[in-house]
Subunit: 423 residues, 2 copies
């Protein structure tokens, strides 16, 4: 793996993978639910049965990571423990239990000339997944793509290459045993960085690219891809505490949004507080979040002198840490203007008792998930009832918000005629 292949090798390697994936996708398109679910359950069984082998390969990555001086947190995320392997298997079994989206006719109507026209849900075809770090994504992403009838090309991080190759080999074995094409799950076997750019050029073979990782990786993918990309750069999520809000509820929602898991994209980064509630709410907020650094606007600091002064750069910031920006606003319009200016179209919540403002906030805030009186942490496919999630999109095309199985499909038009021609 360590050897860097010549550029032409990487190009032809990826082109070959693309062709194989396209061919496999045709077979996956025809595969019924029974075979797909059988493959998913076999994958789960084989991952658990092969845990020792997976851990041995993972150990190679861990040794290299320690030698490279990766942080403890990064080594932690890279580790395939029995618990992580068990969770991968459990995830695959849960995907097997979900309904098959493929073949559903979402609507059907009769035209005046007698044509019966319908929209049938079909797989997208071939999905390219580019991700960093956690090797469990290899199994999670493959499971969702296969269930929705797609082929997948996986490109994991170089630091997880041995783990990813070992997982992919298990997944391919399960595919073959279930009578499905092994080439429907392929992992790019080289750590050559040029492989990403070659993958992004496979416009004829790949229908969708999903990048998961840091903003730098995602921006690189968007700038270089000829293939549609579903992504979010960051989550700058807001809670707006309205005039007359239930302040205990607001406290809970702010605490949950900021502190339950600060390092994730649906964590709260900015709290907007109506001026009429600032004097009552801000001290309660500071008391509820003692471990959190508050960066406030001047009005916030007049109530909370201990707060740091917020810089302009704090408003669009994704802290991913125990830091929160706080701004006092004169009303909901100012709050919505702030969100439109600094937000990332990811997740925003209002805490309110007012019916009209709740409805206006839901209608007018232009984010992928908009909530009334609930935590931003609910922007998650599982939490919202999609069954599973392959990522969150803040691109409006195709999918906006958490992406489940349906978002890995599209619809084609089917037409039943009796010889009709056009006038």
């Amino acid at each position: 793996m360590g050897a860097k292949p010549a550029a032409t090798d990487t190009k032809s390697l990826l082109e070959g993978m693309g062709r194989d994936a396209r061919e496999a996708a045709r077979a996956m398109n025809r595969a019924g639910r029974r075979a797909k679910d059988r493959a998913l359950r076999l994958m789960a069984d084989k991952l658990v049965a092969g845990a020792a082998g997976l851990k041995a390969e993972n150990a190679k990555d861990l040794t290299a990571a320690v030698a490279k001086g990766l942080t403890k947190a990064m080594v932690q995320r890279l580790t395939l423990s029995d618990k992580v392997i068990g969770e991968m298997a459990q995830g695959l079994r849960e995907v097997a239990d979900l309904p098959d989206p493929v073949g559903e006719v979402t609507r059907m109507w009769r035209r005046p000339n007698g044509l019966l026209v319908g929209r049938m849900r079909i797989p997208l075809g071939v999905i390219g997944m580019i991700y960093e770090s956690r090797p469990n994504v290899t199994a999670d992403a493959a499971g969702l793509c296969l269930k929705s009838g797609n082929a997948i090309i996986l490109r994991g991080g170089s630091e997880a290459i041995h783990s990813n190759l070992a997982i992919a080999a298990v997944l391919q074995e399960a595919m073959s045993e279930a009578g499905l094409p092994a080439k429907a799950v392929q992992l790019v076997p080289t750590t050559d960085r040029a492989a990403v750019d070659e993958l992004l050029k496979l416009e004829d073979h790949v229908d969708l690219i999903i990048p998961r990782g840091g903003e730098g990786l995602i921006r690189h993918v968007v700038a270089n891809s000829r293939i549609p990309v579903l992504k979010h750069y960051k989550g700058v999520c807001h809670v707006y505490v309205d005039e007359g809000a239930d302040l205990a509820m607001a406290e809970d929602i702010c605490f949950n949004g900021k502190c339950q898991k600060p390092g994730v994209c649906n964590a709260v980064e900015t709290i907007l507080v109506h001026a009429a509630e600032a004097a009552a709410f801000l001290p309660r907020l500071a008391a509820k979040l003692p471990a959190v650094e508050i960066r406030g606007c001047p009005k916030t600091r007049s109530v909370l002198p201990q707060a740091k002064e917020a810089a302009e750069s704090d408003w669009p910031a994704e802290f991913l840490d125990l830091i929160v920006a706080v701004k006092v606003v004169e009303g909901m319009d100012e709050a919505m203007d702030h969100i439109a200016r600094y937000g990332s179209a990811h997740t925003e919540a209002i805490v309110t008792r007012d019916y009209a403002r709740a409805q206006r906030f839901l209608s007018e805030v232009d984010s992928s998930v908009v909530l009334v009186n609930a935590s931003t942490r609910f922007n998650d496919g599982g939490q919202l009832g999609l069954g599973a999630e392959i990522g969150i999109s803040t691109t409006k095309l195709h999918a906006f918000g958490p992406m489940g199985l349906e978002e890995l499909t599209t619809t084609k038009f089917i037409v039943y005629g009796q010889g009709q021609v056009r006038d």
Copy 2:
């Protein structure tokens, strides 16, 4: 218009247009159906009332076109006659009559923790439309984008710049009179070719690019855009005449598909004939299509010696002319393999009496519109019942097939809570 502005001017011009469009899109998002429909009807009235002015501006483009030596057909397409102006107005009135897709909650469900989760249809935001030649696209595209609550930046061909500017001015006047932001309809006022590339970089301000024109234009847009693009390169549409098909019906469908309008993307380019029907059907086909040049495989030519020999390059060709490629196949699997290999995922039809093969063809052929016993010419938003169409997509993401008003929207998640936080 003729003067070429400095590159930095074009860049800042487009950035300013992008910012204005984003701002206008926020107001459009809130605009109700009443205001939008009023604007559309005012546009129609004003186009008709201002016909003389439009024709005067159009005359400048026509004079330049003749001087440049454009073909008669191109000059014809460029011409704004009273008839064309009337059709633009009629199109806008029909769009006003269509239901407003914005605000529809397509589904809503309750989660175990009591959260009520729904998906609400919302505008995409800002749409960039890049097109060639026909100035009527300016009004048609603007009407559909506005009705669906979007702002639009239009970039027409340089040969139609005076006509397009005149039409856009009328549309903006109608917007203001209806109380909507005029900047929701903007036309790029320069013919500088760099403007297209600058538009394609406005990732923060533009949500979708729709190119309409020749394959060269579209490939350039896809290769250079950081913004999602909905497009089709070409329509290589097939009719497969099955064993046992009603040959009179097959004749009609082939004739309609090839001859009714040969220059359009849903016209038939290749006919696949089951070997068992070749001897009976091919002479009838040749007799029914006397003006059409047939390029046949060896088996076709053994029945029709007058046919030209098909070259390999004829199978993926979009002739857009009275030429058709004909191949004799051993069965539906060979036909579907041929379509998968040479087709463009646009439109394919089967003519058959067999129930099982009809169902298999509909399920397995991976094209945006798949028909049984009907003409490929029905791949059209109006014909399929979408009310109107802004283009046809063979990209599977977001929209696959004709795009109507719904395809110019997306959905966001809305969540009604009672203080729920995540465990």
